[in-house]
């Protein structure tokens, strides 16, 4: 299971523009992209990751003298609730800061294979689906000069497993690993014995919050000197909610990177302010731009980074509650949605139409193989009449702190009128929406980042999932048995077959409506080089992997 994306923190004074900007913040955050199981075959010797991975990280792998030096100023939406912890995040600003200083054991390459680029493990050997051996790269130094050792790995993973710490990176690990399963083999090697076989375990190790911190590490509580990691930049100043300063890690293992002398990460509470700062050349790049602001930004000579992703906003029907216990009502609801129109209305068209299935970057994604579901009001009416719900009236809930969701609820209720049913939009204050009634409502909305299919099922589509909004699976389904079979299946092709069966069931009878996958929009000054448009889980091309890939044009 994966931890949940943080809720975007948006200002109390919500203008339409700030609101839209938060849409990307909300929906595109992702703990960890989906993995490509082909490189993670457990149960044999094939599952190791070779140094360097299979792809080059970007266009800037060679260095010229012109790249070095300077200060990069990054704008991000954050606020007084910022924290700093190498293994935890609360707001979006926290992710940018975390990326400068801490690195995971493995990482996804652009094709979503778990590789060791930008990561600390030399290899992760798969001895069995429940048994993994992590071998560290040699001589990697923390910011304080200490060499990363197996003790640090043991400490880092143990820290994540502590339920009281509530670390963002830990919730994915806790169900499958306990502290007794971690063994130090030698100075550079740690062996993990899982509670159960998890064929996608290496994908979990790619989570950006599953980082290595030094033995004894604690979170920032006013003193920057203990904020030690291995990343390309070291924290020297942090004024909560205002600004942080990160200086170049001189002994960074991926030399000659990073190029900048310093990175300043500046908090903004308001989307207009952050856009203005970019246009006035007070900052060099910003994470999250609202579709509405794109024209203003490009018109001022700045560049938009438009990355496709697997993030989605979903309409959630609880399959064990009236009227959605009847599969015909669920099917009718899905036929009411005009997906292209909804994408236009909610995301100004920045995204692609989806087919009620999640995990589009998973190699076993079925959504492109089955017919594209389209609006069909007549069929919806027929199904509703058949189910005896032709004059259905129902409340449809959304939170006011996650941009896109209120718009989606409103758009849906308009479309529902055509089918002769009454859908009442109920927009609640975020605190109330995500409170005690969250995951219990009959008809609601939610947002998700990018995950592989099985990880997403574990996060939202099982009775044991932390966020089981649609209360899937319904009685009589063998979905759970299939899930367990897929998790234990070490043969890629066979696992793919099982996943497709599961997706067929979701496509035909599921409790989710997924109208689109939205893009991630960022902006930068064209002077800044090194950002690449590609499918990504984090903003600004995964924050230039801790900003090490970025530099100014001479």
């Amino acid at each position: 299971m994966e931890p949940r994306e943080p809720r975007p923190k948006i200002p109390v004074l919500i203008t339409r523009r700030t609101f839209l900007t938060s849409a990307s913040a909300a929906a595109l955050l992702a703990a960890c992209g989906p993995g490509t199981p082909s490189s993670t075959t457990p149960g044999g010797t094939t599952g190791t990751t070779q140094p360097g991975g299979t792809t080059t990280p970007g266009p800037t792998t060679t260095v010229t003298g012109g790249k070095a030096g300077g200060i990069l100023r990054v704008g991000t939406l954050g606020g007084a609730n910022d924290i700093l912890d190498g293994q935890h995040i609360v707001s979006k600003a926290d992710i940018a800061r975390q990326a400068t200083g801490w690195e995971p054991l493995l990482n996804f390459d652009p094709d979503y294979n778990a590789v060791n680029t930008y990561a600390l493990a030399e290899e992760v050997e798969v001895k069995a689906a429940d048994n993994y051996v992590i071998r560290l790269k040699e001589g990697i130094e923390f910011h304080n000069g200490k060499v990363v050792s197996a003790d640090d790995v043991v400490y880092s993973i143990t820290r994540l497993l502590d339920p009281d710490s509530a670390l963002f990176g830990g919730s994915a690990l806790r169900p499958i690993l306990d502290a007794g399963g971690i063994t130090k083999v030698d100075d550079r090697t740690v062996e993990l014995k899982l509670i159960q076989g998890v064929s996608t375990f290496k994908d979990l190790l790619c989570a950006y919050t599953l980082t290595i911190v030094p033995d004894g590490y604690t979170r920032f509580e006013g003193d920057v000197s203990n904020q030690i990691g291995t990343g390309p930049f070291k924290l020297t100043e942090f004024e909560v909610g205002v600004r942080s300063v990160h200086v170049r890690h001189e002994n960074y293992w991926n030399a000659p990177k990073p190029y900048f002398d310093e990175v300043h990460i500046i908090d903004f509470a308001d989307a207009d302010a952050i856009n203005n700062a970019l246009i006035a050349d007070q900052i060099d790049c910003i994470a999250d731009v609202s579709p509405a602001a794109v024209d203003t930004i490009t018109g001022s000579g700045m560049t938009i980074l438009n990355s496709s992703g697997g993030g989605w906003l979903s309409i959630v029907m609880a399959v064990d509650q009236e009227p959605f216990t009847d599969v015909r009502v669920r099917q009718a609801m899905r036929l009411i949605v005009d997906r292209p129109q909804m994408l236009d209305q909610v995301m100004a068209g920045y995204g692609r139409v989806a087919n009620d299935l999640f995990a589009p970057l998973d190699p076993c994604y079925l959504g492109d193989e089955v017919p594209q579901r389209e609006q069909n009001i007549e069929e919806a009416k027929r199904l509703l009449a058949e189910a005896g719900k032709a004059d259905l009236e129902i409340d449809f809930f959304a939170p006011n702190d996650t941009a896109g969701l209120p718009e989606m609820v409103t758009a849906f209720s308009e479309m529902a009128k055509e089918a002769g049913i009454t859908v009442n939009p109920v927009i609640l204050d975020g605190g109330t929406y995500w409170g005690d009634e969250y995951l219990k409502r009959t008809f609601a909305t939610d947002y998700w980042g990018t995950r592989s299919f099985l990880a997403q099922v574990a996060a939202g589509s099982l009775p044991t999932a932390p966020y089981p909004g649609d209360h899937w699976p319904p009685a009589g389904s063998d979905f759970i048995e299939k899930y367990n079979a897929a998790l234990a299946e070490t043969d890629d092709a066979k696992r793919c077959d099982i996943q497709k069966e599961m997706q067929t069931e979701l496509y035909e009878e599921g409790g989710l409506i997924i109208p689109f996958f939205q893009n991630q929009l960022d902006a930068f000054n064209p002077r800044l080089k090194g950002l690449v448009e590609r499918p990504n889980t984090l903003n600004l091309d995964h924050y230039g992997r801790g900003f090490q890939e970025l530099y100014f044009e001479e």
Partner: protein, 318 residues
């Protein structure tokens, strides 16, 4: 009744007001939906970890006990720790309090003299072209929300027409006073927001005084119009103006949240909004008390100043 007795009574009244405010603030934060422990731990929290944190934060104690220990902390200069940042509030919010005060002082230093001059001048030129034009402009400014004025200034001077001023603050190391160029637009926005109110009050007040017997007398005895205005009329017209100024200063202290958002200014308005969002109760309580303190203090000073510039009130104290 002596002057000091009057002052003492006002201070006492101010303290009582603050105490009432403290009760209201505490009660209000208790009524906020959702529990700070849950807000901090997020949705991954278990019932046990929520309970443990509630104990650690003292949230499991009876409200009255929580209130008294909080009040005792406030009085002894220890407002507690931020739930969210887990650092003492002074450390967490201190810089922002300074920043807000700095913006308040800057805005006051420009808006008060400017308003008085405009008010006096328009009163003197009453119903002439200058007065009419100025009055209309000020009416228009007063009716525009700050973010419109601010956005307009940013478009004009920072991002669109003349790119000569910084669009936002808090870029670069050090406090805002080390980057005065970044302060120009936020200060100008506040000044443009406050001047119409103060100037119009000053104008009305001076016109009223101008029509009084003693000003008539001064004119009749042949004093130049300038002397009549600044020596006789303005000092007597200041009473109501002080009240408006006090309201404006109090407003600068906390009500400038729009300006803080627009210019990304690290002040207490934004911090208060953020704290409410994450249910950081100690910070909410502290900032509410700071703002209440500023209101009480400025109003008290305005009352005292009014008394001192109004002979009729002053002599009554004797």
């Amino acid at each position: 009744m002596g002057v000091w007795k009057f002052v003492g009574r006002r201070i006492l009244l101010g303290l009582v007001t603050l105490w009432v405010v403290s009760v209201v603030v505490f009660a209000a934060t208790q009524l906020l939906p959702s529990d700070p422990a849950r807000a901090i731990l997020g949705r991954d929290a278990t019932e046990a970890s929520i309970k443990a944190l509630q104990e650690k934060l003292g949230l499991d104690r009876p409200p009255v006990e929580q209130y008294t220990s909080w009040l005792a902390g406030l009085l002894t200069g220890d407002p507690g720790e931020s739930f969210n940042a887990r650092v003492p509030i002074g450390e967490y919010i201190g810089d922002r309090v300074y920043n807000s005060m700095f913006l308040l002082v800057l805005a006051s230093v420009f808006s008060i003299p400017l308003s008085l001059i405009i008010g006096a001048y328009t009163a003197r030129k009453r119903d002439r072209a200058f007065d009419n034009i100025t009055s209309n402009i000020m009416l228009a400014l007063a009716s525009l929300p700050e973010f419109v004025v601010g956005l307009f200034l940013v478009l004009l001077f920072a991002t669109r027409y003349w790119k000569i001023l910084p669009a936002v603050t808090a870029i670069g190391a050090g406090g805002p006073w080390e980057h005065l160029d970044q302060m120009i637009l936020p200060t100008a926005t506040l000044v443009l927001g406050a001047v119409p109110y103060i100037a119009r009050t000053a104008r009305a007040s001076i016109i009223e005084v101008n029509e009084s017997d003693y000003v008539e007398m001064a004119r009749l005895k042949g004093a130049p119009e300038k002397t009549v205005l600044w020596r006789h009329a303005v000092p007597n017209a200041l009473g109501p103006v002080f009240q408006v100024i006090a309201l404006n200063i109090a407003y600068f202290a906390g009500g400038v949240i729009v300006v803080e958002f627009l210019f990304n200014y690290p002040g207490i308005g934004g911090a208060l909004a953020a704290s409410v969002r994450v249910r950081d109760t100690p910070v909410i309580q502290f900032l509410a008390m700071v703002l209440a303190g500023v209101y009480v203090l400025t109003n008290m000073l305005a009352d005292l100043a009014t008394v001192f510039v109004t002979p009729r009130l002053r002599t009554r104290l004797k």
